[in-house]
Symmetry: D2
Subunit: 356 residues, 4 copies
């Protein structure tokens, strides 16, 4: 199972299954001599953590990160940062109901077929628990970006069919995002979304949604032409998050309906543009305008309902959902989206500095 | 300017500007002892070529590929395939009108700021001409995939607001795709789309659209967990195509409105699924069902209208569009989408074979 | 500080400083469904461990590896193997004598200048302690190689000027290597070497030496042409070991004195060769004959003598050696050389299988 | 056949067989806005070219490089530099004598077994002709390094058993290197070497030798700890050159006989060292002192003598050498060694600049 790394200079590699001893990672290529705020790292982890509000899963995971290397007297040494997050003891849990069965729209089936041997407890390697490691790296990357005056802010802009309008988005204040459990900065819409999530949960069901991310203060010139465009690597990073089904930046899918004369962003004398359909990226390279993109997340596959399925031998079985799961994953996806964006942005900042 | 390579084992690296001597590339990691059909490679290039129909640009580019290495007596040797495509002589053209100006929503501005020195003739390195190299590699990858019974087929499913319905998509026949210049397999919609493109062109304007791609015969197990998910790498590849603004696979952005109980794909006894909201990928790994995804392309930025802009010194200028350009890029994007998908798929086939 | 990874498909990434909480690593690309013997991993670590014999350092490090992921019910799952080795508590130690000084021929100076901030306790990231992580990965790789009937065996063939003759090397038995603390399979030479090391140690001094490695059962075809030649990647791996100063394979440096007519290896009818000056590698690719190479290790820089040096401000200081250090590093380098060779070999086995 | 790329930021990828249409390469990651001297590139190629003196092969290859992209108005644009070198027409040559036979100590056998299909004309992909592409990239890298005051100079210090003494090396003047066909800066030794090469050639035989390379003006801090040490990547680059059998830097293999107290390089107050056994590298990172290393090259395998061998079917055959070949490859290896060193050094300069 390769594919556990992301980034080229600032590079994160992760390990760990949901029900193993610990998950963790190594961050290589960390710029040296930089004072890191450990509390900020734990804060970001807490934003991702289960059990933080009534509308997300009530599983109890402490998610405490332990940094093992790369920091000395509070500052980065340039050495790789190794870290682990212990898994709480769940040996007592019973997984016999899913051991030999394939839960619909989970990766049980594909892992079994690809690897021939699989840790069937929880999601194993495919569990969203792995994203905690991304948040550790993202929280570190974010601090470097802040020192460069680059800010990254995500929020929920859609749950089910309830979606923020462009007008609403143009008025949002970032400091309201954390004021409600949905992490939607328009309070009226947040209430509707929360109501919908509560209804869905009562039925033991789940619902999808979208996260919008905005990046400000980006210098001109981040991103490489051709394959490693800033938008392409942001897209890959977002699509690597569990349950992600789509990515669009700037005018996105709706932009295809416009004429070129409407879509083109006219330059002002200072090099900024009147409109920003480009989403801050032209030819794969940041142009200094705000970058924004959206990520679509499907309704999570774990539902508290009986579902028809099959076992390893192709026999029909009924899979019974149980446990404490998220009815809507997008509020908890917000810090993950920010983390992945931070990792990619910092990597491109460093790549851009690799000059003579 | 790094970022000119894609793939890990089957790897394409490209070079070349639109108005230089030639563009070209190197394909490394080509499996050996395989008979390649050279005509198929040229055929795919011809599908991408300007001037092939009345609704695309009438620029004349011959786009003849010359293979320089890696093939001996008609079969691959396992050595890298180097190739070039000569650029037709365009020295006589006059680019003084854009030399010091930044065309709106082009990469003139970002290249100038990032590199400090730029080939201002046409799009330079950012020109879509570069995609011809991708088609060469894609046409080679496709032949290997065909030998594994994997087929890749793209078509236009949206131009402006004209879009195929799910019902229409369920009835399409691939052999009708090339029967009209739009490359849309539903002829009534194709006519509407063509009409729209002709109107737009008369106004010297452009319009966006979407390409849908379907991959069949994929073995179970392609893709790696966590970061190098099949969907994530397909997404990056598509978002690296000029003018791409969005990517969605399976249920995509619309899937967020569904409940988990609706969205989950129930297994049948043979391991296939009743529905395919997953788009053939679960946990980042192919499950044997057809893979499908969509790519959004913005209206191209080059319009035959006067546009306000600025020059290098920040002075206001008027940029006058001229020349022969595409009013709608999506018909020509079809072979490019197929090519990028072929490169990614073959790379994952090889990665999946890297076992003991 | 990038550069913490080695391998392309079977890839090791390490972290950790000598006096931090723990060192560790992540091994990605592990083939799945393979039964690993945990005891063999610990055995290899014990071969590298300080304190194992009278002629190496008497520092006490327990070097117990804890595997955190990637193995379920005793078999690999294909998920990355994360592991840590706790550092014994050494907080009480006093490093004030080297905090601001640069020990001669250590990396204190280069780390300080490159990173601007440095963990001065022991060698920090540059400590040979990091090689314990390589041994964990090597011991895992070795088990996969054994399943393919590939064996890797290193031994000491030189300490100071005492060196095995070609005749002696042609008669050695691998099972005698561990019978003496020098790990030299010719007992008379081993005694001489041990005597020399004891003398050197009495003087508080150190002495260099060479490790020879032999790899048998290698299938034809491992290695890639041009840059990733098997010999080139083996060379890099060996030169990445602390204190390594040289690498030669096959006829090596002595071979330059031969004529081509003497050096060429004549083929026998079964494809083997009469002689093996090639060292089992032709054109960067294994030819099925035994691979052999040598690695030169300088005398370690830490000596128990007073040495003139400078501090951070360029003032003259005297650095006083103290503590328990290796007088000759090569006996403990033997399992490290085997480990690095195992990692590289397995990576090339997997690369070679990435075919259609 | 993967493995055709070297470098991480400044990256060279090559293609081409000795008897195909052309060889060539792509250099990605070229810093932009830099004036390149094209004549210097061709000069370096001419140093590598066959036929330049009486003691190397008299084959006539023009080796004219054609740059296809990445340079505009004489300066780099940051876009990848694509280039080709046409092969002179050799279709009339007859290779039937080696088509089905394996020449001793060539890669005929390993390529045949690995790939199942092989371009048997000349050395195909394994021909030293491929190194011309390295010289192009090296000549470009060298110009960037010169702008940073880093100089790279190689010369022959051994042919057969004739070797420069340390005293001779301490007195050499670089401007004498090109004054004789051996490229050895001590004229008396150069004469002896030339005499030996002429004798060997008369016998239709070949002889090995060593190249020494010295790099001056290196800033402190190039190289990464652990795996990507400057010495390790230099070693890999050198060992990837055809016929290379060994690499040593600083005190090298002879250094193992020294005591630590002799070997340690004492710091002077300005951070330089009294001696330089370290070879300018401590802990894998440059310390500002001159870097020096040696590369051993075996006698080339092509001899003008009859040799016993086998054919594809394992039948005994006699391979007859013919044509014009190098009797000693090391004079022509000098610019190749410099080129590989230049590529690696520039890559590390760029990596080192990838900071915040």
């Amino acid at each position: 199972m390769a594919g556990s790394s992301i980034g080229t200079i600032f590079k994160l590699t992760t390990f760990g299954e949901s029900h193993g001893i610990a998950i963790g990672g190594i961050i290589d290529g960390v710029p040296s001599n930089f004072k890191l705020d450990m509390e900020l790292i734990q804060n970001e982890l807490d934003r991702r953590r289960p059990g933080q509000s009534v509308i997300v899963t009530q599983r109890k995971e402490s998610d405490t990160v332990q940094i093992l290397s790369g920091i000395f007297e509070g500052k980065t040494t340039g050495a790789p940062i190794g870290f682990i997050i212990q898994n709480d003891d769940q040996r007592s849990n019973d997984y016999s109901h899913i051991k030999d069965s394939f839960r619909p729209s989970h990766s049980d089936y594909t892992y079994e077929k690809k690897y021939g041997h699989r840790d069937y407890r929880g999601g194993g390697r495919s569990s969203a628990r792995e994203t905690a490691c991304r948040v550790v790296a993202g929280a570190i990357a974010k601090q470097f970006l802040h020192s460069q005056n680059i800010s990254i802010q995500a929020f929920v802009d859609q749950v089910g069919a309830i979606r923020l309008t462009p007008e609403e988005i143009s008025t949002i204040k970032y400091n309201t995002i954390e004021s409600n459990p949905v992490r939607c900065p328009i309070s009226s819409k947040a209430e509707e979304m929360e109501k919908l999530i509560r209804e869905v949960r009562k039925e033991g069901d789940t619902i999808g949604g979208c996260v919008r991310c905005e990046i400000r203060g980006v210098p001109i010139g981040l991103g490489e032409p051709v394959f490693d465009r800033l938008n392409a690597d942001l897209g890959k990073a977002m699509l690597s998050i569990n349950a992600a089904k789509g990515f669009e930046y700037g005018s996105g899918f709706q932009g295809v309906e416009l004429r070129g004369s409407q879509h083109n962003d006219v330059f002002l004398e200072d090099g900024t543009t009147l409109t920003n359909h480009s989403g801050g990226i032209q030819g794969g390279i940041s142009n200094g305008m705000p970058i924004y993109f959206r990520v679509a997340f499907k309704p999570v596959a774990t539902i508290i309902q009986d579902q028809d399925s099959i076992d390893k031998d192709g026999n029909k079985v009924v899979v019974t959902g149980k446990g404490r799961h998220d009815s809507c994953v997008v509020p908890r996806a917000v810090p993950i989206v920010e983390s992945m964006a931070s990792i990619i942005l910092l990597d491109f900042v460093l790549r851009n500095n690799a000059r003579i």
